[in-house]
């Protein structure tokens, strides 16, 4: 089986996000960028499936600026086989991303697409589900366990209230949650090897998908700041304060 793994280049999760003073967006100049953490989990899962023998080839795709090539290289160093960069300097919304991915799925015919459940920049949590709908495929979102067997894929999902296991028939979409696995660090030899792995350069026009944005940003603002309260001396004082506030 071939697996397709889309990856997104986002602001590193350790970076403190700053809103621009003109409210046009978030300051991304000279900020460390990395692979979306949920996408690292997707790559890791695909590599583990390959190591277990249920996957033959892992194709990584990124839609973004030229620098997204580095994100693809990271995935190749983790163990993916080849990459596709759909190069664009415009922001593409999840619906547009799903449309491009649907075209790539037609060309590549993977048996499984593994995506992160959400990107930590726009926090949309949409692309995997949208791709599943466009392809008419079943989906296992927010996965904490994936079992590939004969035929149906078994996916255990993190849902409100606990865990739910589904059987997915045929080619399927999986989106990853935090506890699916712990992504590996690429070793130096694998980083060197990844430099020789092929990356196809494409543009959105190559796929003929309508990716015109549907949303326009009116403004981006800082969240309201919560003021720190007071430190209390001991438990007795804490209980008094809570009783006075009517909280207990």
């Amino acid at each position: 089986m071939k697996v397709l793994v889309p990856v997104k280049r986002v602001i590193d999760y350790n970076v403190k996000v700053r809103v621009k003073s003109d409210q046009s967006g978030v300051d991304l100049a000279n900020v460390k960028m990395s692979m979306n953490p949920f996408d690292e989990i997707s790559v890791e899962e695909a590599v583990r499936m390959k190591e277990a023998g249920s996957v033959e080839e892992i194709v990584v795709v990124s839609i973004g600026p030229q620098q997204a090539q580095e994100t693809i290289r990271t995935a190749l160093a983790m163990g993916a086989d080849r990459g596709i960069l759909v190069k664009t300097d415009d922001a593409v919304e999840p619906l547009g991303v799903a449309k491009i991915l649907a075209k790539i799925v037609e060309e590549e015919a993977p048996g499984l697409v593994i995506l992160g459940k959400q990107a930590i920049d726009d926090d949309c949590n949409q692309t995997g589900q949208m791709l599943a709908a466009l392809l008419g495929w079943p989906q296992g979102t927010f996965a904490s366990e994936v079992k590939a067997g004969d035929g149906a894929l078994q996916v255990t999902r993190e849902v409100d209230g606990g865990l739910q296991t589904l059987a997915l028939d045929g080619p399927a979409i999986v989106t990853t949650d935090l506890r699916l696995n712990e992504p590996r660090y690429a070793s130096l030899p694998n980083i060197m090897k990844a430099k020789k792995k092929p990356i196809d350069m494409k543009s959105p026009e190559d796929y003929g998908a309508d990716i015109a944005p549907r949303l326009t940003v009116v403004k981006v603002t800082e969240p309201p700041v919560r003021e720190a309260g007071e430190k209390v001396e001991d438990v007795t004082t804490l209980v008094e304060k809570l009783k006075t506030a009517g909280a207990v």
Binding site: D123, Q164, T165, L168, D177, A228
Partner: protein, 309 residues
Amino acid sequence: MAVLVIAEHDNATLSDATAKTLTAALAFGGDVDILVAGQGADDVAAQAATLSGVRKVLHADGAAYDKQLAEAMEALIVPMMDQYDALFAAASTMGKNVAPRIAARLDVMQLSDIIGLEGQDTFVRPIYAGNAIVTVKSSDAKKVVTVRGTAFEATAAGGNAAVETISAPEGPFKAAFVSEDVVESDRPELTAAKTVVSGGRALGSEAEFQRIVVPLADKLGAAIGASRAAVDAGYAPNDYQVGQTGKIVAPELYIAIGISGAIQHLAGMKDSKIIVAINKDEEAPIFQVADYGLVADLFNAVPELTDAL
């Protein structure tokens, strides 16, 4: 103008999340209908009919809707959207799972996890784990929206809408329910609880989490939460996780025990009315949002607090 709201339920009880989503839908405007898709969920439909401001309740019944899987919900809802200008669902794991499929089929860009709306095309939502708030304007003819429950009050009962049974596609669908591991509990649901007691990594083990956090929660009739670090370490199950990638809560009282206060966690609880933090590290970021901070060894302080209440 008409809006369809997807009811959140377990075939027996309508979740409070539906009443909150309804509030957002009513603010959007127009006639609001509630869709109850389930199996044997007649009681849920009856409960939905009592919510104020509802035009009618549409009840779809069938085995395929028992767990409201996304593939069946898409087949049911997409044709219904001919009659509606907008679809509203809770930003729960159900809503997040189902709504984008419908948005893609309608060729519209979904508005995820909204915390406000202005008119019928402008929506406010958090991005970057709540570190920025974006206001966006949608040019799509129909709107598909998921709603963050903590940002909207629940609509009260007081209505008496008609319940109309509708037919629903029976499949087969390409996803099948196999099993679930749902914790049965007498505790209030985490996202709806008035009081939440949460534990962090400083508890050190699952046994200590049980010994320290649970009795305090029992005493207060509280729901139990946990930081991502505590869940990752296996001290608490995944559905306890409070934070941007877990559950978003805003109770009257939130007690954080041994939680340092990573941004990720703060994004999930900073709208709580009163925050209490107990942590031995006085520099912990949790104290920057706490109304009452107690710098103390949690293994002494929490049992003392439990006894004192």
